[in-house]
Subunit: 135 residues, 6 copies
């Protein structure tokens, strides 16, 4: 597969997710256009093009990774939008963040919840229904 | 729900996952028994008892969190065992780790793959079938 | 001890520290009310309710943990307020942050000092007296 | 104060703490002797020489910082020895590590507890008395 | 070398780099003046005064360290200014950040690029010329 | 450029650096062969193939990134070997690690120095000449 088709595939994946891929590429165009190219080719081309996990699963895993990493509020907001577009519910997102709580710790989990809350608010998705008591 | 039932629920969850919960509790018993109790009550009682995600999904999310966190080879090995017991395939695990690669970076992803490889080897699960070409 | 009393104990501890616990719970109420509940039950109920360290010591330890973790300016501000309410002096706080400098490194220590400076300024606690020369 | 006296002061502090400072300096002597010098001058000279916190408090804060940082099992063992020499009890150490649990998360806290357990075992300090129920 | 001369040397180094060292010292003067002193003495005095690497090399290494650390946008902006003053080109800076991409991961690299872009924009250095195709 | 040529270029770069690239690929072959492929294509093909920095500079930057990241002793050993093969001296490596000390902190810097010391010892490169006094 040529470099062009990896990039094209990544852009198509981003577009299908409703992510404003062109905005991602444009934001870095005047400083590091190759960075946008690597996002398209490697992240959304090579990796998102892999079989075995659904796009919804990939996006929830991404939110777990970003939260454990910390300092990623910008990326949480971006990927959370893609997660919702891929069929994840707001409750899926909240449960994903709470599932990571013992590992990422409270501060990073709260920071991601606050970033998520802004996205939910902008989309009119608040309040997120509380998880029903499992017992 | 009383504290005892949270702990009992956590121990039951761990036992259902085939995780040697009693070994976890025993390892910390002579230094910080309450730590084992919190693992049982909070992690496997409160959090794993939440609705909305399957246990398999929780375990894959946990592997993503641990890999992004780094320095968690011990925990990757423990939770990977639970992931397999919860129905995740070796390929699910590998795809989960590769999905986190852009966020956790290459070193932490390789470290988790090496830890995973040891668990797979001990269970006779190598080689993990390579993901089929999606195109 | 029932779950209710853990939460009640955590809320009482937070209130005694002068922390606006209700604000904490409210901020997450429409996205993840259980997160606020876990803060109350687990952090301020279970852990702050433990014997062996004073609340002032716990708060200084918390500032050390948050600084080493990084990306926690929001939490530094919150816990620093509790630290002052628990009897820590501004100089205690500064010495705590400087004690962590070799481990957390300069950038994270500076970030916490800048966050602390804002809290001190809002409370009219600047300038913090420089530590006297020990020699 | 001259550079020599900063180093001399740091070495004296380390010696007073019962820490094998000469071993620290020797371990790096053939690769980066200045690193040992900086440990002596800056960490144990400048910073440990500051007023306002006791050595016991500094050592507990150090354990909190190291645990939140992660990947520091070697340093946890070294500083834990100093903490005990400075008058911290094993229970102080355990409570310090548990106090950091919400911030450092479970994996890093468990890793530090396991490192601490080895030091306690080597000194015949196990089992650490469980904290009495505060209620 | 006396403590005064270490500080004087650090201030001279910072001044030669065109960094507003006095602003650094002033920002922390009313909360932790010793922190500014340590920046001058230890970072720019002891460490920048070492032989073996050029100042330009030190600054590029610093940008790599800060990016891998994360949550350091403030420091990236400060040190990037010094890097440019030390003779690094905008393209050197971008290549440095891209060289760290496999280790720091995409989010932290993007965060540093965005911080760098603001500095470049303020200095009229945009667009950064794209790296020519090496083949 | 086709995917094959990216991988071929990465393998050639690794071979030129004297790095045992085939061992890297083989180590992951039975769990995640695509991971080895990404190392070859993306890290050593795309990124190392970029113009603007020398291979020696890239390797020193890599050591700075890995040290700041932490938990990367395995990768420090691997890349340090490549750094030496690319013309970096042991003193360059030590100065690189000391340059990152204020950012990565003492524990991660010491961990990298200890990993480096083992590589130097295996190659008969100890003692590393201490940096001459710059004044």
């Amino acid at each position: 597969m040529s470099a062009e088709s990896r990039l094209a595939r990544g852009r198509r994946t981003l577009a299908e997710l409703g992510g404003d891929g062109e905005a991602v590429f444009a934001a870095l165009a005047d400083i590091a256009p190759d960075m946008g190219r690597y996002v398209g080719e490697f992240v959304f081309g090579d990796l998102y093009g892999r079989p075995g996990l659904t796009v919804r699963e990939r996006q929830l895993l991404t939110l777990a990774s970003l939260t454990a990493l910390g300092g990623t509020e910008r990326q949480v907001a971006f990927h959370l939008g893609l997660a919702l577009n891929a069929g994840a519910t707001p409750n899926d997102v909240v449960e994903t963040l709470l599932a990571g709580l013992p590992f990422a710790g409270f501060p990073r989990t709260v920071n991601s919840l606050i970033a998520a809350r802004e996205v939910f608010a902008a989309r009119g998705l608040l309040p997120v229904p509380a998880a029903p008591d499992p017992d």
